[in-house]
């Protein structure tokens, strides 16, 4: 397998190119995805390569964008519908949670909806409260949906391919602050199935379950802590729905301590679910209560000084791990 260094967004883009080349039923619609290539250049070159039958700019109409995808998917096509910023998902939510998610079940299995929704989430860019959110817990709560959150260039390509190949409605949430992050990516077409966690780094003292860009911060913290003699295992679930509980629980049974980190607000976040699953399956192995590090319960603020205080980072993750270790 030939690998080379690509940015996160280029890796995603390569996955889109390869999937559209390999499957004529795949098409892309969204706001400024064709001529402009998407505001984050996620879709650069697709119009040129595949033409305006398969790559289409839409009106600003999120309900129609997703609804069109639902109807086309129910007829057997494999639509990719882009929502640009994750914050815009509320506009299209009826088509996502009442239609796409439920059709299979409420129609007694008669219909599959192989729809992929792409969007960009996360903060750190002074984009403020309506362009910075991490709403994965909201989506993960809906039976029928799958939610992927790539945390590396390798996963950005593998998860978009895995999502398009999946026969269920799947939302792929790119992280805006990771677009330029580089990493090794195979040239070949490969897909990562939904629900398979990645053990990013092995360790023996503490398990950190980190979501999206927090994987990068957790890995930084783990390196820092290694110098202090604390061995940290970092797990990236890759998809929050389905959630690879087995990998997480196996790790915690080994390390006896767990910290969950995400950008979304702590209350009702996916960390609450992960924490609950750990205590249900590994209570007797725990040397300390499961800890969480996430955003405070407020909208994402604008001023850099406020936003920096809002989002977890490597230093705060390291401090939280030290506290966990000292406690036991």
């Amino acid at each position: 397998m030939t690998t080379r260094e690509l940015t996160y967004v280029k890796a995603f883009n390569e996955g889109m190119h390869q999937m559209m080349a390999s499957d004529p039923d795949v098409f892309l619609i969204g706001e400024d995805v064709a001529g402009y290539g998407g505001v984050f250049h996620m879709f650069d070159g697709l119009l040129t390569e595949f033409g305006d039958r398969r790559v289409k700019d839409t009106p600003i109409a999120e309900q129609a964008i997703i609804g069109l995808g639902v109807g086309a998917a129910a007829r057997g096509l494999r639509p990719v519908c882009d929502l640009m910023f994750m914050d815009f998902i509320g506009v299209a939510m009826d088509q996502i949670f009442n239609q796409a998610a439920k059709m299979k079940y409420m129609f007694g299995g008669a219909v599959s909806v192989p729809l992929t929704i792409t969007t960009a989430g996360g903060g750190g860019m002074s984009a403020a409260a309506q362009h910075s959110q991490s709403l994965e817990a909201w989506l993960a709560h809906i039976p029928g949906l799958k939610v992927a959150m790539p945390a590396s260039p390798y996963d950005a390509k593998g998860l978009i391919v895995g999502a398009i190949r999946d026969d269920n409605p799947t939302i792929v949430v790119l992280n805006k602050k990771m677009l330029g992050v580089k990493g090794l990516v195979p040239e070949e077409l490969y897909g990562i199935p939904m629900g398979v966690a990645n053990v990013v780094r092995e360790g023996t003292d503490v398990t950190i379950v980190a979501i999206a860009r927090m994987v990068v911060e957790a890995t930084k913290a783990a390196k820092e802590l290694e110098a202090e003699g604390i061995s940290v295992e970092v797990i990236d679930p890759r998809t929050v729905q389905p959630l690879d509980t087995d990998t997480i629980v196996t790790s915690v049974k080994k390390t006896h301590r767990a910290l969950i980190v995400h950008e979304a607000v702590e209350f009702g976040g996916i960390g609450a679910e992960i924490s609950s699953q750990i205590q249900e399956s590994a209570f007797d192995y725990l040397d300390a209560p499961v800890a969480r590090l996430a955003a405070p319960f407020s909208p994402v603020p604008y001023a850099p000084i406020l936003e920096n205080a809002y989002m977890p980072d490597a230093a705060r993750i390291a401090a939280k791990v030290r506290a966990l270790v000292e406690r036991s």
Binding site: A64, I65, G67, D94, F107
Partner: protein, 340 residues
């Protein structure tokens, strides 16, 4: 057919739309409408007696709309429907046995007892599902129409919705996108005068919802929704336009539901004048078609009586089948959440 300069609304159908009428067509439309009428009346009673679970939004009164539109569509053409969707499913060819079974919540139902009244689906006949969210099926229909265009398979999609749904954002977004992309979609607004219990005059300034078509650059057609032949004629024009690549049409069928928003007796809220209800019943769609049939000599009262009788026998058979069908097993409750 007249077009008003001010609004661009076409008052259809074209003159002579009853010319060339055949016995086959009269009986076909009649059968579709009678099947709807008897299914709705019988299921309505079964819910009221407590024999059947849930609650029903009955289509009685509006039969000509479903029958007229569906008579110009084939099995490969797709439709999306509403919470008041039994009529669309039946007119599209759905069978009584799995429909009753679904309403009874049985494994032999169209949705294996998972969906019930508001989610009847029949993929083999292009019935892409009823929908319990007002207007929820409209965006899905443009996706079905997009698939027709993408594949170039010559099929069309029709979406049914009410006067109330024409006020939601998804209607505007969908019809605009269908217009911009010339999608082969027919937007069928069944204007029964009420959004649940709220009269049209209280929920929009317009009298003719078809006027809205002008703002999307597509034809808007008003038709008598109690005349199945008139509905069929304007639907034929819309299908022809869609198949030619010219794009969507908005059809507004003026119609009326005889029963309440929900159930036969409903909640007994006095929001409609009983005289208004009776006036619409005077123009009953089935009566109108039967009169056309007998006056033209194409069909006899015996022909129509036979259809009523056959349909009643089918109803009895369907209810019997549903009652005797197995209940779903709670152990299977997680089946079909995902495609595995």
């Amino acid at each position: 057919m007249t077009e008003t300069a001010a609004t661009g609304v076409i008052y259809g159908p074209r003159e002579g739309y009853r010319d060339g009428l055949t016995r086959g067509l009269v009986l076909d439309l009649h059968r579709r409408m009678v099947r709807i009428r008897l299914f709705e009346e019988s299921s309505g009673k079964l819910v009221e007696t407590g024999d059947m679970p849930g609650f029903l939004h009955l289509y009685v009164g509006q039969e000509a709309v479903a029958a007229g539109v569906m008579s110009v569509l084939g099995d490969a053409d797709q439709i999306t429907s509403t919470h008041r969707g039994h009529g669309h499913a039946i007119a599209k060819g759905a069978e009584f046995r799995p429909m009753f079974a679904e309403l009874y919540g049985k494994t032999t139902g169209y949705c294996k007892g998972r969906g019930g009244s508001m989610h009847i689906v029949d993929m083999s006949r292009g019935m892409l599902g009823a929908n319990a969210i007002v207007g929820g099926g409209i965006p899905i229909a443009i996706g079905a129409g997009f698939a027709s265009q993408y594949r170039g398979d010559g099929t069309v999609a029709a979406t049914f919705f009410g006067d109330g749904a024409s006020n939601i954002g998804a209607f505007h977004e969908s019809i605009n996108m269908a217009a911009v992309w010339d999608l082969p979609v027919i937007f069928v607004c069944e204007n029964n005068g009420y959004a649940e219990f709220t009269a049209q005059s209280s929920h929009m300034k317009l009298e003719d919802i078809a006027e809205r078509a002008a703002s999307y650059g597509i034809p808007g057609v008003v038709v008598d929704g109690m005349d199945a032949l008139a509905v069929r004629a304007v639907a034929l024009d819309a299908v022809e336009r869609a198949k030619s690549g010219a794009g969507p049409t908005l059809i507004e069928a003026k119609t009326y539901r005889y029963f309440d928003h929900q159930g036969i007796k409903g909640m007994r809220i006095p929001y409609r004048d009983p005289a208004e209800v009776e006036a619409w019943k005077e123009r009953d769609a089935i009566k109108i078609l039967e009169a056309i049939g007998t006056e033209s000599g194409l069909a006899s009262t015996e022909d129509f009586a036979a259809i009523w009788a056959e349909t009643q026998a089918d109803i009895t058979d369907g209810i019997e089948f549903a009652r005797n069908s197995p209940d779903p097993d709670p152990a299977d409750i997680l089946d079909d959440v995902y495609t595995v």
